[in-house]
């Protein structure tokens, strides 16, 4: 069993024994199962999944850090929302706004990155929210 902790500055989101954790790291998606080697990575905006007793829980996160030591998985993330907490309408609006702004903006614009992040966050949220059904 893995000892999973997902902590944001707002609260401890998850503190549980789970079978499998998957998230998006700096170099792509990774999965953690019991017995994993010591591992450290930065997390990108995206989905976090964990499986417990065959049931998968999805979370949308906006990046942070992940550490695996001795079957203890600690994810320090900026935000993390479960499918239930996500306001899909808002995320869709945010996505549309970011998309239209990005289309008109040049790549080297100072706020380009900001909107790109907003877009990624919105996509992650919508992705997680759609798994609810």
């Amino acid at each position: 069993m893995l000892n999973l902790e997902i902590i944001t500055p707002e609260k401890t989101v998850v503190k549980d024994e789970v079978d499998l954790v998957e998230a998006t790291g700096a170099d792509g998606e990774f999965g953690i199962m019991p017995g994993h080697t010591q591992f450290l990575t930065t997390l990108r905006i995206g989905e976090i999944r964990y499986k417990k007793n065959g049931e998968t829980t999805y979370l949308a996160s906006s990046g942070g850090f992940a550490e695996v030591v001795d079957d203890k998985v600690t994810l320090l993330v900026d935000t993390s929302e479960t499918a239930k907490e996500i306001d899909v309408e808002r995320a869709k609006k945010a996505m549309e706004r970011a998309e239209s702004l990005l289309k008109t903006m040049s790549y080297d614009h100072t706020e380009y990155l900001l909107y790109e992040m907003a877009l990624l966050r919105a996509i992650a949220r919508i992705g997680v929210a759609s798994k609810k059904l």
Partner: protein, 286 residues
């Protein structure tokens, strides 16, 4: 000599003071509760972040990152002192200010310059009066939020990297419990690896140094945020107990004054009676 009416007036004034202190105590109590929930939220994250940073930077070569390397000659140090804008909270502000002042005095010969980076009007005024070298002061902070913390973190990192200061200390009041708060004074930048942190040979994605680069600014801003919240919580707790004491003292004073008042009144009556009896006696004699 205080007349009866003076004493009575005094009792009235102490009573109304007591009403104020009692109200302030209750206000602080409810603010403390709110601050405590706020503190609970961030605490876990801040502690984990600190521990993680400790583990990750352990055994890193010192020159790997500019915020890790201790400068050989620390000539100019900066003290970040966190206090509050309002007084009436016992020794809360004085303790933090004194810590900074004492440090500056004790190390006057060691360091060329001891700068102060101050949060809160009270500490600013205190240190300002003593002609301390105040680099920056933050007063009237409405709400501690990410934006504020990021600005502060950026400024501190800038002050360090530009060479304006060689070492930065952080001083705030740690909220141990509602009745006990302690002043913390610790080295902040460059980041020191705690002795007890164990070295873990991670597989890193991306390179360890890249993780360190993104982790350190995050750690610094988290630490500042956390210290500010700790300090705020302590402030309310300190004010609550200060006001509780004040309320009790007022009660004691009223009791004492009432006693004096009654004694004085009785004395007056006795004197008057003596006068009457004396007068009557004198009349009877004739």
């Amino acid at each position: 000599m205080a007349t009866l009416r003076d004493i009575k007036r005094k009792i009235g004034s102490v009573n109304s003071t007591q009403t104020i202190t009692r109200t302030m105590k209750m206000v602080s109590a409810s603010k403390l509760r709110r601050a405590q929930t706020e503190l609970e939220k961030i605490k876990e994250y801040a502690l984990k972040m600190e521990a993680l940073t400790g583990r990750v930077v352990k055994n890193m070569p010192e020159d790997a990152h500019p915020l890790l390397a201790a400068r050989e000659e620390a000539k100019k140090v900066l003290i970040v002192s966190i206090g509050s804008d309002r007084g009436l909270c016992g020794g809360f502000n004085a303790n933090v200010a004194l810590t900074a002042e004492n440090f500056a005095r004790q190390n006057r010969d060691t360091y060329e310059r001891v700068g102060m980076y101050v949060f809160g009007r009270k500490i600013r005024d205190y240190l300002g009066k003593r002609k301390a070298d105040i680099v920056k002061d933050w007063v009237d902070i409405k709400k501690v939020d990410q934006e504020l913390v990021d600005t502060v973190a950026e400024e501190l990192i800038g002050l360090y990297l530009s060479g304006e200061f060689d070492k930065i200390y952080l001083s705030y009041t740690y909220f141990a419990s509602a009745v006990r708060q302690e002043v913390v004074f610790e080295e902040f930048i460059p980041i020191k690896t705690p002795e007890e942190a164990e070295y873990v040979d991670y597989i890193c994605e991306p390179e360890r140094i890249q993780i360190v680069e993104s982790l350190i600014p995050r750690y610094i801003s988290t630490k500042i945020y956390y210290s500010l919240i700790e300090s705020q919580t302590s402030e309310h707790a300190a004010r609550m107990s200060a006001m509780e004491n004040a309320t009790n003292n007022c009660g004691e004073m009223v009791r004492y004054l009432t006693l004096v008042y009654n004694k004085r009144r009785q004395e007056g009556i006795t004197n008057e009676m003596l006068d009457i009896v004396g007068g009557a006696e004198a009349l009877r004699g004739t």
